[in-house]
């Protein structure tokens, strides 16, 4: 397993390793090879680098066509250019056909697109992909997890959507930590005053909030949700069962993402209060850290929201 800085390099490293392992994988890129940090992959395996030009709908269709022959194409680009520009192609020609196409969507969230601004920040993708039958959604929190998620995606049969941010996110998981097949990893277990559920690259902030809360005598559980809308939420429900307050944190619109998923699990299984911390409007340009803080993802704000919900 190679060393890498963040989710993008991890994606490219895993794709390369999959070729070395003899998998019939391809990188289908709508002018996104460089953004995917996959230039060395393209140079090393020119036949496995399928360049489609700035044409995302074409890239998804090409991947669908390739998958009918047994190939395992990974379409890599910015998450919104895939889910929004080529959304119908993802739905009808990959979802409905249940073809073995994998999508890696980066620049997810305001911190994923950071200084590029709204047109290159994507916080709507989960609402769409979660509504598509047959798709599995993997949201690795850091590079180590992304590497394993890509490997897992190649093993899973059928469409997979991998969500990643800027590639500069902090590493939270140890290199040898597995990518949880239960869809949840408890990172801090200080108590059951609240359960804070995180998805993707806000995890370091959630863990920091849990630590801050502990200092104030509020003992929470902080966990990473890495599979959204999965077939088996039993472990997630198990963690939710120990508390009367769940707080969700995600760099995504407040509708249709993690918070929506957890809200449904709550009302359908055990009605419990769910407070959602997420984006409620379009964001703006800015460096990831400052932007994330401004949008409510600072550990201080997360801790304050939890404390307020508990009346403390």
């Amino acid at each position: 397993m190679a060393k890498f800085k963040g989710v993008r390099e991890a994606f490219a490293a895993a794709l390369t390793d999959l070729v070395v392992e003899g998998k019939d994988v391809y990188g289908v890129f709508p002018d996104s090879l460089s953004a995917m940090r996959a230039i060395s992959f393209g140079e090393k395996y020119p036949e496995r680098y399928v360049e489609c030009g700035i044409a995302e709908q074409c890239a998804v269709d090409v991947a669908a066509g390739m998958a009918t022959t047994g190939a395992i194409p990974f379409v890599g680009s910015y998450s919104g250019f895939l889910t929004m520009r080529a959304g119908e192609q993802m739905r009808t020609f990959v979802g409905y056909t249940d073809l073995n196409v994998k999508f890696a969507g980066f620049n997810a969230g305001c911190m994923g697109g950071e200084r590029e601004g709204v047109t290159h920040q994507f916080y709507e993708d989960l609402a769409f992909v979660s509504s598509l039958p047959n798709f599995k959604i993997l949201t690795p929190a850091d590079g180590n997890q992304m590497y394993k998620a890509v490997k897992l995606a190649a093993e899973l049969k059928g469409p997979v959507y991998l969500r990643g941010g800027s590639g500069k996110e902090p590493t939270v998981f140890p290199e040898d930590a597995p990518f949880s097949l239960d869809g949840i990893t408890v990172c801090k277990d200080y108590g059951s005053d609240a359960v804070i559920l995180s998805t993707g690259h806000v995890l370091d902030r959630v863990i920091a909030a849990a630590d801050q809360l502990k200092e104030k005598g509020i003992n929470v559980t902080a966990a990473d949700i890495n599979i959204l809308y999965g077939d088996n939420p039993a472990k997630i429900l198990e963690v939710m069962a120990k508390t009367e307050l769940v707080v969700t944190v995600e760099d995504h619109n407040i509708n249709g993402g993690l918070g929506s998923y957890i809200s449904r699990l709550a009302t359908e299984n055990r009605p419990v209060k769910v407070k959602r911390i997420a984006l409620e409007d379009y964001s703006e340009s800015g460096p990831a850290k400052e932007l994330g803080d401004k949008e409510g993802f600072s550990p201080e704000n997360i801790a304050a929201v939890v404390a307020k919900c508990l009346g403390k």
Partner: protein
């Protein structure tokens, strides 16, 4: 007794004619399916207020955005699956991010499109539209409510999505029935369970309530036509009054109105909820009513869900 049925799209066409008669800046655009969406009525009566963009949905939305910049009020229409699917990027970044005054109609939505099959059955459009800031999302229950919703969409400044089906559906509202964007409408008072529905499922919910009344189960039925912005007060009040909720919609459960209600309940007043909707599958060809039955979108499914959710109280 036979029930009067009218396709909701007739309400859309009627509203367009009323709007254009009053305001020549209203213009209808379609992508080669004007006959189906009823925007053809505009072409017939006000040919200068109609553009057929051909089979080019992204172009449809892009041109509408340009017209809005130019001071027009464009109403775009095509099948919901192609509108929300193929033109989502344009709707998000060009229309919603710029908060443009573009109105969008998703026609032939839901599984009741029937024989055309899965490629033409939009089951995700509400999820897709609901996640966009600045967007208003309305799912009316009959032709008259579609007419009122379309008129109400014209009265607000900003992006607006109205969704309707293909089939003739029972008439459940009259001209005098009140309609206010963003305000849920209580259609029937009850106390044991609140059934929150929209689209064609509202009629089914009202029928289910009658069946349940015979078993002494008192059902409140709420028409949640505006999915976004959601009427938090009405949803919470219903939950407080009844203690449990069933949502019913002709759309994927993930991301649709039921999910919006779950978010609202979980955040404000968590109570047990059961979900009637498409359960994470694609549709198929068939006659509309056959499909509604095959996918559990009918009165008996609502009756069963009500009993289940009451048992969870």
């Amino acid at each position: 007794m036979s029930i009067k049925k009218i396709p909701m799209r007739d309400g859309y066409g009627k509203a367009l004619l009323e709007l254009i008669a009053a305001n020549p800046k209203v213009i209808a655009l379609d992508a080669d399916v004007a006959k189906s969406t009823r925007s053809i009525w505009v072409k017939e009566k006000f040919p200068n207020n109609f553009i057929d963009m051909g089979i080019a949905e992204q172009d449809l939305v892009g041109t509408a955005a340009g017209l809005a910049f130019g001071g027009m009020m464009p109403f775009t229409s095509t099948y919901a699956v192609f509108m929300a699917g193929r033109a989502w990027d344009e709707i998000r970044t060009t229309v919603c991010y710029n908060n443009l005054n573009v109105k969008i109609a998703g026609a032939h939505a839901g599984i009741s499109v029937g024989p055309d099959g899965a490629t033409h059955q939009a089951l995700e459009d509400v999820a897709i539209m609901r996640v966009l800031p600045n967007m208003t999302v309305v799912v009316p229950c009959d032709a008259e409510e579609t007419r009122k919703a379309t008129l109400a969409g014209a009265a607000i400044n900003g992006p607006f999505y109205v969704r309707f089906g293909r089939e003739a559906v029972p008439v459940v509202t009259e001209e005098s029935t009140p309609f206010e964007l963003g305000k849920a409408r209580t259609c029937r008072e009850g106390s044991d369970v609140a059934v929150i529905a929209n689209g064609a499922m509202l009629y089914e919910s009202l029928e289910a309530a009658k069946i349940l009344a015979e078993e002494n189960i008192s059902v409140e039925v709420i028409d949640l036509h505006t999915v976004k912005p959601i009427d938090v007060d009405a949803v919470v009040a219903a939950a407080k009054k009844c203690g449990c909720v069933v949502t019913a919609e002709e759309h994927q459960i993930f991301g649709g109105m039921g999910s919006a209600v779950a978010e609202c309940l979980a955040q404000n007043y968590p109570v047990p909820q059961e979900f009637i909707g498409i359960n994470d599958s694609f549709g198929e060809s068939g006659q509309p009513q056959e499909l509604m039955d095959a996918y559990n979108l009918n009165q008996s499914a609502i009756v069963a869900a009500v009993k289940k959710v009451i048992a969870r109280k």
